[in-house]
Amino acid sequence: MIQFTLWDIVSHLLIGMGWTVGLSFAAFILGSTAGMVMLFARISPNPLLRQLAKIYIEFFQGTPLLMQLFLLFFGLALMGIDISALATALIGLTLFTSAYLAEIWRGCVESLPFGQWEASASLAMNRWQQMRYVIIPQAVRISLPPTVGFSVQVVKGTAVTSIIGFMEITKTGTMIANATFKPMLVYGLVAIGYFLICFPLSAFARRVERRSYATYMR
């Protein structure tokens, strides 16, 4: 039997952690791009587009991430597309992230006083200009704390992708725990790994929130 030293365990977990960080980062970038598109659809003047975006968001917020991943994994296979666990994880997390971010950002846009829209309309701006020069710059400032806060949820969401077989830190942990019979130690280390990624993000979100609140009060 192969003996695992503590360093063997940690070094393998670190590799898994690299995949967790990479997947989270990619899903967050792609998800915020798609989320921006969904946001524009969700607040568009066209009622059909608005309704479609609403259904999309409702679906992804009302069903488990695990089920979304299963559906993608098996659904694409039915259509004859052979898809890897990494691709499934990335597509699934991107869709999931885009739905949540679109809803968060809609809240930020709608929290702006309606007068902002009217004032910019009275300056003969078209909808795109209103968005670009008046609404988005203000909404971005409000949206920073909840967006950073949500990135923690994305990182934690990547753990679920271990179930469809993507080799990130949780999956690595499961395999090492099965080989070493030390689940307490290994899952403890996995938890510490996630904590090291997520805690700085939550701390940063809190700091940004406090600062923006202070600006607001001034």
């Binding site: 069903t63 679920v160 904590f195």
Partner: protein, 222 residues
């Protein structure tokens, strides 16, 4: 597309799915009930900075909120037996749900307790109420009322998250879906059905919680 969809496998296994739905609901109900009690204790000790208790809760919240539910589940199910605590899949799932919701509801309810104007506490004090009476008769109900919608959202999120409990053989909805899938190989149909069941559950649970909120938190005269 040459694939023939067949929902027969689901029709013949509907009892399994119904049982799964029921267990998911029970899991969520226990988790939310005990979780909110823990959350209330934690929120008050954090908001009033009770010595020791508030530090313990701060560490607890940070640990739970910065690690995934799945890893907490594995830690409790696979890790705790090393300390002599042996739980079956169902018990481990319930415990993890309670721990998870306890941490999130602490933070949510704390916001509610902080939202109570200081004047109310001073008024209670001037009526010779002690701290606990003030909490019971003055603070708690409006605090819960203010944050009830956030609490409902969190409960729905945790209910959806409970689908990963299938991984340690807790027999909830996802477990039932996996079971039927391995017996009939109708993966897409079954996961589509259970996804829609989750969607319905999410809508229904939200409705029920809103009712509970209106009945017990806003209207009832103490």
């Amino acid at each position: 597309m040459a694939y023939q969809f067949s929902f027969e496998a689901i029709a013949s296994n509907w009892e399994l799915l119904a049982r799964g739905v029921a267990l998911t609901v029970v899991l969520t109900a226990i988790g939310s009930f005990v979780g909110i009690i823990i959350g209330t204790v934690g929120a008050v000790s954090r908001a009033w900075t009770l010595p020791l208790l508030s530090q313990v809760f701060t560490v607890y919240i940070e640990c739970v909120r910065n690690t995934p539910f799945l890893v907490q589940l594995y830690f409790i199910f696979f890790g705790l037996p090393a300390l002599g605590v042996k739980l079956n899949g169902w018990e481990a799932s319930v415990l993890t749900m309670v721990i998870n919701l306890g941490a999130y509801s602490t933070e949510i309810i704390r916001a509610g307790v902080m939202s109570i104007p200081k004047g109310l506490l001073e008024a209670a004090e001037s009526l010779a109420m002690n701290r606990w009476q003030a909490l019971r008769y003055v603070v708690l109900r409006p605090a819960l009322k203010n944050v009830w919608p956030a609490l409902c959202s969190q409960i729905v999120i945790v209910m959806l998250g409970s689908s990963v409990c299938s991984q340690i053989a807790a027999q909830e909805l996802t477990y039932a879906a996996n079971l039927i899938q391995t017996q009939t190989f109708r993966a897409f149909e079954i996961y589509l059905t259970s996804t829609l069941l989750y969607l319905m559950l999410a809508v229904l649970v939200r409705k029920c919680l809103n009712q509970i909120g209106m009945r017990f938190i806003e209207r009832r005269k103490a």
